[in-house]
C-alpha cells in the first residue's frame, strides 16, 4: 500500500484546509471483464476520453495541485493505452496507484506494467477460496488470474496489496484469508461496507454482515492485535467524540481535497458522490471547483452538523459516509444503519478484548 512521505502528509492537511484537490481517483473506463456482485458502476455506452483527453485531464489536475492519483475502472487494463497513460502520469509527477482485478496481468506484460512507474498496485480478492471468489466476480478462473497477478507483480518487485469486502460469505474466514495474503507476501486490507450502486441497485446488500457476525469478526481482529493494546487504547482516547474540536472539522475530504474523474471527463466530489461538479475538458476546472453550488454547500458542513452522531459512544469506530447516507437515506446528514451497526460491533469487540 502506498505510504506517503511525511512532507506530503503535511501538505494533505494544507490541501484539506484550503480545498486543493491533492488526491484524485480516475476511473479510466467503466468497462469490465468481471461481474462482481457488489459493483457500484453501471456500464454506459458513452465515448470515453481518448488518450489525448486523458493526458489533458492529467495536465489540468497537475496545474491544480493533484499529487496522488488512483487509476481504477471498471478494469483500467482494458484500455489499450493504459501503459502510455501510466507513463505520462509518472512523467508529469503524479504518485500513482493502480486498482485492478488482476486478470489481465500476465508474464507478457508484467514488466512493462511495473516499468511505467506505478507506485503501488491494489488487487481485489473476495475470498481465500477459489470457488467463492469466482462466484463473487461471476467469472470462473478469476481467482487464479488475480492471485497469479499478485505473484508476478511481487516477483517483479512491485508494491502490492490485496483488498477485500468483508461480507456474510467471507467474514468467518479472516484467519485463512490472512494466511493466503501472507503466503503471497502482501498485506490484506478490507472493510465490511457494501453500498447501494450508482443506479440504485441494492440486491447485494443482503450480503452485509449482521451485528453478531461483525462482533465475531472484530473479536478475531482484536485478538490478533492484542499486543498493540496500549497503543490502541491511546488512539481511542484521541478519536472520541469531542464537540469543541469537531465543530470546526469538515465531514470528509469529498470536493475538499479529493475528487473523482469518470471516463468521460466528468468530475465528482469523490468516488461515492453522484453530484457532477463539471467537466474537466469542456469547462473551466478552477472556476467550477471553486464555485460549484454543491461543493460550496458541502464544504460548509462540519462533523457536528450530523445531529445523530453528536456525543455518540461509537464515534471512534465509525466511518460514516455522507454520500452513502444520501444514496440510502436521501439525506447526507442521516447516517445509514450499516455504519452504526459496524461501529457498535467494533466497539463491543474492542471493549471485550482490548480494554
Amino acid at each position: 500500500m502506498l505510504r506517503l512521505p511525511d512532507n506530503i502528509k503535511r501538505l494533505y492537511k494544507k490541501a484539506q484546509k484550503h480545498c486543493v484537490p491533492i488526491e484524485a481517483l480516475f476511473e479510466l473506463t467503466h468497462r469490465c471483464n468481471l461481474r462482481c456482485i457488489h459493483c457500484y458502476i453501471d456500464s454506459e455506452k458513452k465515448r470515453e476520453l481518448s488518450t489525448n483527453g486523458v493526458m489533458r485531464a492529467l495536465d489540468v489536475l497537475s496545474q491544480n495541485g493533484t499529487i496522488t492519483i488512483i487509476f481504477s475502472g471498471g478494469e483500467a487494463l482494458l484500455r489499450p493505452d493504459i501503459f502510455d497513460i501510466l507513463k505520462y502520469a509518472k512523467k508529469t509527477g503524479f504518485i500513482s496507484t493502480l486498482f485492478t482485478n488482476g486478470t489481465l496481468i500476465d508474464k507478457s506484460n508484467v514488466k512493462r506494467l511495473i516499468d511505467t512507474g506505478v507506485a503501488a498496485f491494489e488487487i481485489s480478492v473476495y475470498s481465500d477460496i477459489e470457488k467463492d471468489h469466482d462466484e463473487f466476480t461471476q467469472v470462473k478462473g478469476s481467482f487464479q488470474a488475480a492471485t497469479g497477478a499478485v505473484k508476478l507483480l511481487k516477483a517483479g518487485g512491485a508494491d502490492v496489496t490485496i483488498k477485500t469486502v468483508w461480507n456474510k460469505r467471507n467474514y468467518h474466514r479472516a484467519d485463512s484469508f490472512l494466511r493466503l495474503a501472507s503466503d503471497l507476501g502482501v498485506e490484506l486490507r478490507g472493510a465490511p461496507y457494501l453500498s447501494v450502486t450508482n443506479d440504485g441497485g441494492a440486491g447485494h446488500l443482503n450480503l452485509r454482515c449482521s451485528k453478531e457476525e461483525l462482533v465475531q469478526f472484530y473479536t478475531q481482529v482484536y485478538e490478533r492485535r492484542k499486543d498493540r493494546g496500549n497503543e490502541m487504547r491511546k488512539e481511542l482516547e484521541k478519536k472520541k467524540y469531542d464537540y469543541d474540536s469537531l465543530k470546526d472539522k469538515r465531514i470528509c475530504g469529498a470536493c475538499v481535497m479529493k475528487l473523482k474523474l469518470d471516463p468521460y471527463g466528468d468530475v465528482y466530489p469523490c468516488v461515492a458522490f453522484g453530484e457532477k461538479l463539471g467537466n474537466i475538458i469542456h469547462d473551466d476546472f478552477t472556476a467550477f471547483w471553486r464555485e460549484n453550488e454543491f461543493a460550496k454547500k458541502f464544504r460548509a458542513l462540519r462533523v457536528t452538523d450530523i445531529k445523530k452522531c453528536v456525543g455518540c459512544d461509537d464515534y471512534a469506530f465509525c466511518r460514516t459516509c455522507p454520500a452513502d447516507s444520501l444514496r440510502e437515506c436521501g439525506d447526507m446528514l442521516a447516517p445509514t444503519d450499516e455504519k452504526c451497526i459496524v461501529a457498535k460491533a467494533q466497539r463491543e469487540a474492542f471493549y471485550k478484548i482490548i480494554l
Binding site: N7, R10, I67, T92
Partner: protein
Amino acid sequence: MSNILNKYVSKIDKIAYRTIVDEVVVMTPDDSMLHTLNSIGSDIFSNINGKKSVKEICDIIYKDYDATEEKIAKDVSKFISELVKKNILSLSYAPVT
C-alpha cells in the same frame, strides 16, 4: 559556492512540480523523490523561468522579505546551488528562450 549572481537559472525540463497554496513540491522522476520547498524557496522557485538571472530573482525577493541585500543574495544563491546539485535547476550564461 562560486558567484552565480550573473547567471541565468531555469528549471530542468523533466522535473514536475505542484503548487499547494503557497508551497511548491518538486518531483524528480529519476529517483522518484519529492522535495517540498519552504515558503521563501517556493517564492524563488516560482520566479524561475530561464529568462531571469539569479541577481534579478534576488531583487524580486528582496522587495518581499525583511533582510539585507547581502543576506538575500547569499540565501538565494545557496538555495539555487542546492537545487542545481539535485538536478532540479540549471544555470546558463545567457537567458533560455
